[in-house]
């Protein structure tokens, strides 16, 4: 009898130490593009790495070469499930197209959280910016700095994506609520060159334009270029979104008036933290806001 008890206790001890000590969980971070060359994803990766170090997680970072390469992201997730990850934090390139593979992941016991962009799989927690609130913050800045009733325009992102839709919605509502005359709401697909050409078209038709909200900084920088060429930059307030280093520099130089910072670092950090919680069988809330903050000349230096 004693013999059996000792065997059982040693087995328990052994398996216990295996679970607690040597078997660190492996979490996969899948972003929309490599951090090299994109400061936004670089800071998501930095947050994820810090969380991984703090919680003792094996972190695997894989991303498709560009956001449009949806099937590359699907293949990477598929391959990592085969390899045996314990949890996935993903910024879906196309929420609909990656949905089946994420369902597969969850069916084989691998928990998933979305970061940055919300997906469509049911019961999956979204960890990211509340873009409606963020865009409303930008609209508020325009309302505070431009006389009521002025002509204003909105450069929308890819309107097929929820991020694009939410920023369009938040800004449009906010600007109309304070009595602005919204003369144009046009998509420029997150792209600097398109932001520039769309702005050129807008100012041709609306010479009295007083403010532009660009749904991301790249389009905002394009808008600034167009306004500069038309000698209108002094009269027009441009507010971007994302607070990327180029935009922060532009705010410091007095060209862009303000931008909205997302805490991309938090997305990586909280993504890994919460994927780990799920992997350990804990439960987490459905929505985790990573927050936004207005960036003006006063605090822009922090974002360069």
């Amino acid at each position: 009898m004693k013999f059996f008890i000792s065997i059982i206790t040693t087995t328990l001890l052994f398996s216990g130490s295996l679970l607690a000590g040597s078997h660190a969980k492996t979490i996969m971070l899948s972003t929309k593009g490599p951090g090299a060359g994109n400061p936004f994803w670089a800071s998501v990766e930095a947050g994820a790495k810090d969380a991984a170090e703090e919680f003792g997680v094996n972190l695997i970072i894989l991303s498709p070469p560009q956001e449009s390469d949806v099937m590359a992201q699907v293949a990477q997730i598929e391959d990592q499930i085969a390899k045996g990850v314990d949890g996935i934090a993903i910024a879906p390139t196309d929420p609909n197209a990656v949905a089946p593979i994420l369902d597969d992941a969850m069916a084989s016991g691998v928990p998933v959280v979305y970061i940055d962009t919300n997906g469509i799989n049911e019961g999956v927690t979204f960890i990211g910016t509340n873009n409606i609130n963020g865009a409303a913050l930008a609209a508020q800045y325009i309302c505070d700095n431009v006389p009521s009733g002025s002509d204003v325009a909105i450069l929308q992102g890819m309107i097929t994506q929820t991020t694009g839709q939410h920023r369009a919605e938040g800004s449009s509502k906010g600007l109309k609520a304070c009595g602005m005359n919204v003369v144009a709401e046009l998509p420029a697909n997150w792209d600097t060159a398109q932001g520039m050409s769309v702005t050129e078209d807008i100012i041709t038709g609306n010479p009295n334009l007083k403010a532009i909200f660009a749904s991301n900084d790249n389009m905002g920088l394009g808008a600034i270029q167009a306004l500069k060429n038309a000698d209108m930059l002094d009269d027009v307030v441009v507010v971007g979104f994302d607070a990327n280093p180029d935009a922060a520099a532009s705010v410091m130089a007095g060209e862009m008036s303000a931008t909205i910072a997302q805490f991309s670092y938090n997305m990586g950090y909280m993504g890994v933290e919460n994927a780990l919680k799920l992997a350990n069988g804990e439960s987490i809330p459905d929505n985790i806001d990573t927050g936004t903050v207005l960036v003006t000349k006063e605090n822009a230096a922090d974002f360069m």
């Binding site: 490599p34 090299a36 695997i60 970072i61 894989l62 991303s63 498709p64 070469p65 449009s68 390469d69 949806v70 099937m71 590359a72 699907v74 293949a75 990477q76 598929e78 391959d79 990592q80 499930i81 085969a82 390899k83 045996g84 390139t93 196309d94 929420p95 609909n96 197209a97 990656v98 949905a99 089946p100 469509i120 309107i159 097929t160």
Partner: protein
């Protein structure tokens, strides 16, 4: 050893070498695949050859292999088709709209290949009837046109949610309970079966039918083919139509895999298809290449990507490596041909 003896020895070595050339020409590429498999197995012993991972590779290459096979036939005629990535997207969108309109699943399934067929025929007719100076131009035009139409009919937004029957092609699993016992997790993807069947059909078509032989003849020497009484234009239309049709099948597979028709579907995948064909040993000047080679080219790219994903290698390196393999594969081919002409 006198000169005569030495020459004899050289000659013996040479003949052995010459005898090996056709062997390498036919199976060298398979040797490369075996080496890749061996290396990846050593690097990832628990994962790479696991059932799940191997089926993953086949699922990942299934839709691209359809594009590659179509582009291969076009390249054999010394042409090019840049529009296949857009055809896949347009056929996917057409399928999604038919599905949303409530058409029965067996009709919806036919929509994608049918759209592909029509797009391909449009390319073929344009190239021959409009006498475009090069297929590059016609299909570059339709690359934009087809994706534009796809965005127009869908409004540029993804359309999600297809019937299970439609998804079977791209997502179906053939259970292997009979071999592995009840409730086994091992399965064969339907898309793999489809891929094998289609590659076999096209192998027969290209090697054992008159039209197939004409396709090679056109690429080898169009003037001679015309002189021999082959209706070159008609064959070209057939080739481009089949290429579009295969892209449509690719769209059907993708519909199953993603359960979604999305605006970026197939973006730049024409380049992957061309790369696979070139790695597989087809000549850009037409007339040369095999269906087996295309299959090998597709597998090499699929295995490489999968292996690098398993080892968590950045996609930037994947791009560099795939580009290097294209150049290396063609360079080996150049060397081989040089040796072959010298002897």
């Amino acid at each position: 050893m006198d000169h005569g003896e030495k020459r004899l020895m050289d000659k013996n070595q040479e003949t052995l070498f010459v005898r090996l050339i056709p062997f390498f020409e036919r199976y060298g590429i398979l040797l490369l695949i075996l080496i890749m498999i061996a290396v990846l197995h050593l690097l990832q012993p628990d994962v790479f050859l696991s059932w799940r991972n191997v089926t993953n590779i086949f699922k990942q290459v299934s839709w691209q292999s359809m594009l590659a096979l179509g582009v291969f036939m076009v390249i054999v005629t010394a042409g090019i088709d840049l529009s296949v990535g857009s055809i896949i997207m347009l056929s996917l969108m057409g399928l999604a709209i038919a599905s949303k309109a409530g058409m029965p699943w067996y009709v919806v399934m036919l929509v994608a290949p049918a759209i592909g067929f029509l797009c391909g025929m449009f390319n073929g007719i344009g190239i021959t009837l409009l006498r475009m100076p090069h297929p590059f131009i016609m299909t570059l035009g339709t690359l934009y046109i087809f994706r534009g139409i796809g965005n127009l009919i869908s409004g540029g937004v993804p359309i999600t949610g297809f019937a299970e029957q439609i998804r079977v092609i791209g997502n179906g699993k053939i259970k292997l309970d009979a071999f592995f016992g009840e409730g086994a997790r091992e399965y064969i993807p339907t898309s793999l079966i489809l891929m094998i069947v289609i590659f076999f059909i096209f192998w027969v078509f290209l090697n054992h039918t008159r039209i197939g032989k004409w396709i090679y003849a056109i690429g080898g020497n169009p003037g001679a083919a015309r002189a021999a009484g082959i209706n070159v234009d008609r064959i070209l239309i057939v080739v481009y139509t089949l290429c579009g049709f295969l892209a449509g099948i690719g769209g059907l597979i993708l519909a199953g895999r993603t359960n979604s028709a999305y605006p970026n579907a197939g973006l730049q995948s024409e380049l992957d298809a061309i790369a696979a064909v070139i790695i597989g040993g087809a000549s850009f000047f037409g007339g040369r290449g095999t269906v087996l080679g295309v299959f090998a080219g597709v597998m090499i790219m699929g295995i490489l990507r999968n292996g690098l994903n398993l080892m968590n290698v950045s996609v930037f390196w994947q791009q560099v490596l795939i580009g290097s393999i294209i150049i290396l594969a063609v360079y080996i081919d150049v060397l081989r041909r040089q040796l072959a002409t010298r002897t």
